[in-house]
């Protein structure tokens, strides 16, 4: 990236745009969940979850299948709004702002809280358009040059730039699975969110692609608050600083990753990480 020294202003602009909508003197990003209950129709999928997620670093959610990890993750950017039968009670704040507040524009919330899905889902458009879509709809850049800049830096941050820089106009669906997933991460980064939610981002990937995505997560953690759902204990141990264990719709235990894996307080956590159930 030879011209990055020439024009850093684009990135600065985006950064400025992001900080501009934080209220003056805002504290760093942090998610606070208080007594969160989620219902799908009559089904009580998540019970009284309380958790505090720090503003930088990686938080991992682990737990057996169907315990509500994805459900809770999707509460944080209100993706659950798209499911008609889903009802959320309790309070979730990001930087002290209640995200279920009626006056809040959910679209702006999602611009702050990016999401990467289990299966890579690039738009069937060019790689460039995939990454540029977010900045475009949020009006983050003023002209084509700035947009190019944002696309390049996002792809670089997602460690994909070198692989795709000569084929930016090719379709995003033509990439390999691992590349697609990194493209999706780049796409999420391009909006410059505070928080990135990742729901089993590596479950559709082979070990090499997984390693690349993990490296990437590790690099991103100094700039973003990352919340990752994973079924792989090793992965949780490798990439996260804090870990939360869910079981049957409740949050059983949340602590530093080291503590959870070496010295859990709850018996269920112990059983789970030693593979006795789940």
């Amino acid at each position: 990236m030879e011209n990055s020294t020439v024009d850093l202003s684009a990135i600065e602009r985006v950064e400025a745009a992001r900080t501009a909508h934080l209220t003056a003197g805002a504290k760093p990003a942090k998610v606070l969940a208080h007594d969160v209950n989620v219902y799908y129709g009559d089904k009580h999928a998540l019970q009284a979850v309380n958790v505090e997620i720090p503003d930088r670093g990686v938080m991992a959610f682990i737990g057996p299948s169907g315990c509500g990890k994805s459900t809770f993750l999707r509460c944080i950017n209100r993706m659950n709004d798209t499911i008609a039968s889903c009802r959320v009670t309790g309070k979730i704040t990001i930087d002290d702002q209640d995200i279920y507040d009626r006056s809040l524009d959910v679209v702006q919330l999602r611009a702050r809280v990016g999401m990467v899905f289990q299966k890579p889902n690039p738009f069937p458009k060019s790689i460039y358009d995939n990454v540029a879509y977010g900045p475009r709809i949020h009006g983050l850049t003023a002209n084509k040059a700035e947009l190019d800049e944002v696309v390049q830096s996002s792809l670089e941050k997602a460690a994909l730039w070198n692989e795709v820089k000569d084929r930016l106009q090719d379709s995003g669906t033509g990439l390999s699975g691992g590349q697609q997933q990194r493209l999706c991460i780049a796409r999420a980064i391009a909006v410059n969110p505070d928080i990135i939610l990742m729901d089993e981002p590596c479950s559709a990937l082979d070990p090499i692609a997984t390693a690349k995505v993990e490296t990437l997560i590790d690099e991103l953690r100094s700039n973003f608050c990352i919340i990752i759902v994973t079924h792989s204990m090793q992965q949780a141990a490798r990439v996260s600083q804090r870990t939360a264990f869910f079981h049957l719709g409740t949050l059983v235990e949340e602590d530093s990753t080291k503590t959870i894996f070496s010295n859990p307080k709850d018996q269920r956590t112990q059983d789970y990480i030693t593979g006795r159930f789940g």
Binding site: M79, F123, A188, V191
Partner: protein, 543 residues
């Protein structure tokens, strides 16, 4: 169907329980296989019969249509008489337009067969040409006034009856060379032909077989229009046989003879036209004239461009489908610009935004039922609401398009919904996860991906609209309209209605044109369906 399964063991008795002799078992299996084969053959037969229906339908129509694609013309020299066309010599356009061109074409055809006297004969001769021949000549003169005063060679359209005679087998005949010397009594008028011997005995025998007895009063066998007609070609002329005895023939001259010199045996002939005159639309007189023109080498056959370039007409040889085609295009244009956006937006609403409640349910049930309402009922709607309530113009493509739009709307909504549903939810989630609003996700991502499917459904819907007739009859698109419409509020007709109108007319030439119009219609339909299939295959996406 659990019953059905439990009934099976009765057919397949367990071998353990009762020993069945091997030959009985084998016979039973054979019988079951035979019934299997019969069943399969029945299925295949049904399919084959359906195919036979289709082939019969298409061939019968194509065969019927073929004659309509060509037309016969007389290539005649015509003097564009300045005294008639441009009497004052000022090349005044209005005067040129109003001139009597029919007299010119009459003169031209009379020149080919001179010496015709008598009103009926002259009328028959002039009637060979279509009234369109004079109009063509007028167009030619207007386009190029410099030909005024000169003699030009120009093709002139025959009337539909002549055209059919030239194309068909109405003129089927047998000719017997004269066996004896034959003497005409005159060169014109009613004449008698006297043979040197009893050479017409065979003809008399034929006539008796055809049921003509000797007429005592006339002292001869009298021929009428109900039996095959006989014409004697002699000395360059033709005589129709009305009375026959064993050695004389008498009747009117159809074509003047050159002289009354006795014709040698073998230099004249007696021609029998197999179809009786009363059963054809063309008289013996006309046949003789046409054959004369033909032998002068002045008949050409060419592709019937007029069929595609002119509007409707009372004269079959002048009638074309241009008006109907333009009317169809205007009508379908109105239909398309109404039902495509409305259908797609409705589908988007129902598929992406509609809350699941009773209202949505009603809309849904309603759309499915609307798709099966008889089309004529939509015609009633158009008549009562658009014509009588809103006072929109009758027979106009605007109203036709409106009615057809309502008619195909359910089809388009249903297919658009299917196309939208086929777009995987992960695309929507991706967009929404990036902070796109639901509408942005739909309009930026889902809709473009669903577009090929929507287009396929739309083309099929439009093909349906293209073939629809009944509702358009209701709103008055059945009027006889000669002018080609130029706007959506002009009176117009459409191709299927034109087909219906022509199919009701008695002239055989119109029947052929009906079939030809059907061929054009089917051509458009196949093209549209082909396009839909192509689109489907090209953009079919596996997720």
């Amino acid at each position: 169907m659990t019953d059905a399964i439990s009934s099976l063991p009765t057919q397949l008795p367990p071998a353990r329980r009762r020993a069945i002799p091997p030959d009985v078992a084998a016979a039973r299996v054979r019988r079951r296989y035979a019934s299997e084969r019969t069943f399969k053959a029945l299925g295949f037969g049904a399919l084959a019969l359906t195919a036979v229906f289709l082939v019969a339908l298409l061939t019968s129509i194509i065969v019927k249509s073929l004659p309509a694609f060509s037309e016969h013309r007389a290539v005649l020299s015509v003097l564009v008489d300045a005294a008639i066309v441009d009497a004052d010599g000022k090349r005044n356009a209005d005067a040129i337009r109003a001139a009597d061109y029919a007299s010119l074409t009459r003169a031209a055809i009379t020149a080919v067969i001179p010496g015709i006297e008598g009103r009926t004969a002259r009328k028959a001769l002039n009637g060979l040409l279509s009234s369109g021949a004079a109009d063509d000549l007028r167009d030619r003169v207007i386009a190029n006034p410099s030909i005024i005063g000169t003699t030009i060679k120009t093709p002139m359209l025959f009337s539909d009856d002549v055209d059919l005679y030239l194309k068909g087998d109405t003129g089927r005949h047998t000719a017997a060379l004269g066996a004896a010397e034959l003497t005409p009594s005159d060169v014109k008028g009613d004449i008698t032909l006297t043979a040197a011997n009893q050479s017409f005995a065979a003809l008399i025998a034929d006539l008796e077989r055809e049921g003509v007895a000797n007429d005592a009063e006339a002292g001869a066998h009298v021929l009428d229009g109900r039996i095959p007609s006989r014409v004697v070609y002699i000395n360059g002329g033709a005589v129709k046989v009305v009375k026959a005895t064993a050695n004389t023939l008498a009747g009117p001259v159809l074509l003047p003879l050159s002289s009354v010199t006795p014709a040698q045996a073998g230099s004249w002939n007696l021609t029998t036209y197999v179809q009786p005159e009363s059963r054809r639309r063309i008289s013996d007189q006309e046949i003789v004239f046409i054959d004369k023109i033909r032998s002068a080498g002045a008949i050409e056959r060419g592709f019937n461009w007029r069929f595609f370039t002119s509007g409707d007409s009372r004269e079959p040889e002048l009638a074309g489908i241009r008006g109907a085609l333009i009317g169809t295009a205007l009508t379908l244009f109105v239909t398309l610009i109404l039902c495509l956006p409305i259908g797609v937006l409705a589908a988007i609403y129902l598929e992406e935004f509609a809350p699941k409640n009773w209202l949505t349910d009603i809309i849904e049930v309603n759309i499915n039922n609307l798709a099966a309402v008889p089309s004529i009922v939509f015609g009633l709607l158009g008549l009562a609401v658009f014509l009588n309530y809103f006072n929109l113009p009758r027979s106009a493509p605007l109203v036709g398009g409106l009615v057809l739009a309502l008619l195909v709307l359910p089809t388009i909504i249903i297919s658009a919904r299917a196309a939208i549903k086929a777009v995987p939810p992960s695309i929507r989630e991706a967009a929404i996860g990036l902070g796109a609003s639901q509408q942005q996700a739909v309009f930026h991502h889902v809709l473009p991906l669903a577009m090929p499917g929507i287009m396929t459904g739309t083309i099929i819907g439009m093909a349906h609209a293209l073939g629809e007739t009944a509702p358009l009859l209701m709103i008055g698109m059945v009027a006889f309209i000669v002018d080609v419409p130029t706007s959506i509020s002009d009176a117009a007709t459409v191709l299927p209605v034109q087909i219906y109108l022509w199919s009701d007319l008695p002239e055989a030439a119109f029947q052929q044109r009906t079939a030809a119009a059907i061929v054009v219609l089917l051509g458009f339909l196949f093209a549209m369906n082909g396009a839909a299939i192509w689109l489907r295959n090209k953009f079919e996406r596996r997720w």
